[in-house]
């Protein structure tokens, strides 16, 4: 990466208070021209507040912001865009039914004198932007037809089309495969060479170590420190983030593994997965590793009765079972913590209590009457045992942090006393502290003799937590690894379909 020199953006003593919370306290930060500056911290550390202040969405309460030594006022997102600060949010804002060129210049379309769109200029400019990004797609293609990674590139292209000097990216790899991530990183490096500064907000330390020049760590609204990438190890950064030492990030306890609880034989669904056979034993944590789209979630959803296989058998404790819907699966003691907690796991606008007892109420009722005392007791027990941080049971669940939301989803299922517990990307988008708590829950369940399936696209996680890993590639199982023979290289290769065993 290039030798950055000039300070392009300087933040001095910026503070922001929300009712009851000091989200940012006297933060100082400087961004150099052409540097990739990572901002890390747990949820609630102030990353998104900082981002939103810089992009003009929030107004700071105190402090000053300088662009090239000139103080700037950011009163709206338009101000920020005009000054060359663009922000790319986690949720993409692509319009699927417009083509690439129009998406690139949306809100900024070149006009001719009659205030009509200057189509020729539009497509010429679009081509230029695509060339800058080294993207080999036609400006005429509809954006909805692009892969997620390419859609994200279009967002970056949008920033370039607005002559952005600083691009802020929020968790840009959260929905990308490893290959797509490499393309993104290529683009970031390229932009940085062109002198554009990137503020890279992320949870994923591996990525940050790979891409960042400097790293600023936030905790509870304060800046802990800014370090050069080579000056701090991952462990040190984690320590700064959580303010304590995490000796054993992935705790793995010895558990006696006994009989097979779940057996899947020859499960097939056309164009999704083929001839899937595996088994999970009591107390065992089985990892399912593969790229997004390889069919991992679909296999889990089939076992849970959301999808239906055309062929194959599922047996539980040696008995063949037919699972037509999720109610059947729950009756058999199968639980699924789904991939998308906001869409599939929670009713966001309702309370913590409601969400926690959504499954349990089937048990604590007589002729449909819910025993509300029992309901509350159960919920409170899980609030304590999982240390869910919420002001009350009545709190709307969308107000909780990601980690606590995920714990509510887990609590919903734990109250069922499951036999088979499937977790699909349970730690996506949640902070380090909550992650290790979720691993602890997985361990505890294993000790109780529950058979566990963990789906993850984070290799360190799956290697840290599982007893056995099977890899999926394009809907087929490619390999199986015992804990003693875990090797990140061969697992990765198997998940990419190379060197099939």
């Amino acid at each position: 990466m290039n030798k950055a020199k000039n300070v392009i953006l300087r933040v001095e003593g910026v503070s922001k208070t929300f009712p009851g919370v000091k989200a940012l306290s006297e933060l100082d930060l400087d961004i150099l021209e052409g540097e990739v500056h990572a901002v890390v911290g747990e949820n609630g550390a102030g990353k998104s507040t900082l981002m939103k202040i810089l992009s003009g969405v929030y107004h700071k309460d105190a402090g000053r912001i300088f662009l090239f030594d000139k103080e700037i006022k950011l009163l709206s997102a338009t101000d920020a865009l005009k000054l060359g600060i663009s922000c790319i949010y986690q949720e993409l804002t692509i319009v699927p039914l417009l083509d690439v060129a129009k998406n690139l210049f949306i809100g900024n379309l070149p006009m001719n004198k009659a205030r009509m769109i200057n189509t020729r200029k539009l497509y010429q400019d679009a081509k230029k932007v695509l060339e800058t990004l080294k993207l080999d797609i036609s400006p005429n293609v509809l954006c909805g037809e692009l892969s997620i990674a390419n859609q994200q590139m279009i967002e970056i292209g949008r920033a370039i089309s607005r002559k952005a000097r600083i691009i802020i990216m929020d968790e840009p790899t959260s929905s990308l495969t490893d290959k797509e991530k490499e393309i993104l990183f290529g683009a970031i490096r390229h932009l940085s060479r062109e002198g554009i500064s990137i503020i890279y907000v992320s949870h994923k330390l591996e990525e940050i170590k790979e891409i960042a020049d400097r790293i600023t760590i936030l905790r509870d609204g304060f800046k802990v420190k800014t370090v050069k990438n080579e000056e701090a190890t991952k462990e040190e950064i984690v320590e700064y983030m959580i303010g304590r030492k995490l000796d054993n990030y992935f705790i793995k306890k010895e558990v006696k593994i006994s009989d097979t609880v779940l057996k899947v034989e020859g499960l097939s669904k056309q164009n999704v997965f083929h001839d899937i056979s595996f088994e999970v034993r009591k107390g065992e944590v089985l990892g399912l590793f593969g790229l997004i789209g390889a069919g991992r979630s679909e296999i889990a959803e089939t076992i849970f009765g959301i999808l239906h296989a055309e062929k194959g058998k599922i047996s539980i404790n040696g008995k063949n079972v037919k699972i037509k819907n999720t109610a059947d699966a729950i009756k058999q003691g199968i639980c699924l913590v789904p991939e998308d907690r906001k869409l599939q796991g929670l009713v966001l606008k309702l309370s913590v209590l409601f969400n926690m007892s959504l499954v349990k109420i089937r048990e604590i009722n007589r002729f449909g009457h819910i025993d509300t005392r029992k309901e509350k007791d159960t919920a409170e027990r899980f609030i304590n045992s999982l240390s869910i941080k919420t002001p009350s049971l009545k709190q709307t669940v969308s107000n909780l942090s990601g980690g606590n939301q995920q714990k509510v989803v887990i609590a919903k299922w734990l109250s069922m006393e499951p036999k088979i517990f499937i977790l699909d990307e349970p730690t996506r988008g949640i902070d380090v502290g909550a992650k290790s708590e979720i691993y602890a829950i997985v361990n505890e369940l294993a000790q109780k003799g529950v058979g566990i399936m963990l789906i993850s696209s984070e290799l360190p996680e799956i290697m840290g937590v599982c007893d056995r890993i099977i890899t999926v590639f394009e809907g087929k199982l490619t390999a199986s690894f015992e804990r003693e023979s875990f090797n990140s290289n061969s697992i990765m290769k198997a998940s990419l379909g190379e060197g099939l065993l």
């Binding site: 959301i306 599939q344 309702l350 449909g368």
Partner: protein, 314 residues
């Protein structure tokens, strides 16, 4: 501090309708000396009982994430049936229309829940179909009920000076509050309306819940029809026309979210009282019919506007 905040939050949910109701009562009682008399209050309550019962059913549908426009037509159809069937005794005249109301509703529910048809368009269609059935059933004519003492008591009777329809309303208020708040079915309605995907991932049969919610709505419309017929001992095929509008205004004003997953029976009845008192005020204060519709329309838009504003703020 914290406690104060939580109380304020609790009130914030329905304070709008309570304040509105308070001011409405204040204004009308200043404007007309007849308003706060026992006779008038009982009158208002009796007139709102039919609207109220329908609103309870419609609230289940809306909290479940849908909307039911066909209830006015179901009311007409069931009222005509009840009229004709009084010839065969009270039991038949009560039970058959109730069953038909439930089936009409469940039919809506099946189209919306099982086949994923758009609820607005579906019930707009069945509104026309049920209306046509009502015309067909009565040959487009006015029907008179046969004399039947027991049946006529539903709408006309009193218990200790309290009209029986008011008692029926109160009874179903308690029943539906209980069902929505404290039963598995009630919870599942909230889940399906709040996030159908999550409901499915939690072992809930969304189709079943939707069919039942619509069925309940149809049943409530039939119940209102019985009260109507019993009071007038007559029915005509267009008697329910426009009722869906009043009901939807009432429950939206009462804080039931159009997007589903939010609302209470308590709020629904407050909304119904608001509409009932408003209509009573129109008469007492001698406001022409044209203006009544304008006022109702403005209130509906205002209530929906507040609902979306709240979401914006969040």
């Amino acid at each position: 501090m914290n406690k104060f905040y939580s109380i304020r939050k609790k009130i914030a949910g329905i304070n709008g309708i309570i304040i509105a109701l308070f001011f409405l009562i204040l204004i009308v009682s200043i404007g007309s000396s007849k308003f706060l008399t026992t006779t008038n209050i009982m009158n208002v309550l009796r007139q709102t009982s039919t609207l109220g019962i329908m609103a309870f059913g419609a609230a289940f549908v809306m909290i479940g994430g849908n909307i039911d426009l066909s209830i006015g037509s179901i009311l007409s159809l069931c009222a005509l049936m009840a009229c004709k069937l009084t010839a065969y005794g009270s039991a038949v005249a009560i039970l058959v229309p109730l069953a038909v109301g439930f089936i009409c509703g469940a039919f809506n529910g099946l189209l919306v829940g099982k086949f994923k048809f758009n609820p607005f368009i579906t019930t707009l269609g069945t509104m026309a179909i049920f209306q046509a059935l009502a015309f067909y059933y009565s040959d487009g004519a006015f029907l008179n009920a046969s004399d039947n003492f027991f049946f006529s008591q539903i709408g006309k009777g009193f218990v200790y000076k309290i009209p029986i329809p008011v008692i029926i309303l109160l009874f179903f208020f308690l029943v539906f509050s209980y069902i929505l708040g404290k039963t598995v079915f009630g919870r599942q309605v909230f889940a399906v309306g709040g996030n159908p995907e999550c409901a499915r991932f939690s072992g809930i049969n969304n189709t079943k819940i939707t069919v039942l919610a619509f069925g309940l709505s149809g049943l409530c419309a039939a119940l209102s029809a019985l009260i109507f017929v019993s009071r007038q001992m007559a029915a005509q095929p267009q008697m329910g026309t426009g009722y869906e509008f009043d009901v939807i205004v009432a429950i939206v004003v009462g804080g039931v979210a159009l997007s589903g997953g939010k609302g209470t029976i308590w709020g629904a009845i407050l909304g119904v009282l608001f509409i009932g008192i408003l209509k009573n005020a129109f008469i007492l204060l001698g406001i022409p019919l044209n203006y009544q519709y304008v006022v109702m329309g403005v209130i509906l838009i205002f209530a929906v506007g507040i609902d979306s504003l709240r979401k914006e703020v969040k």
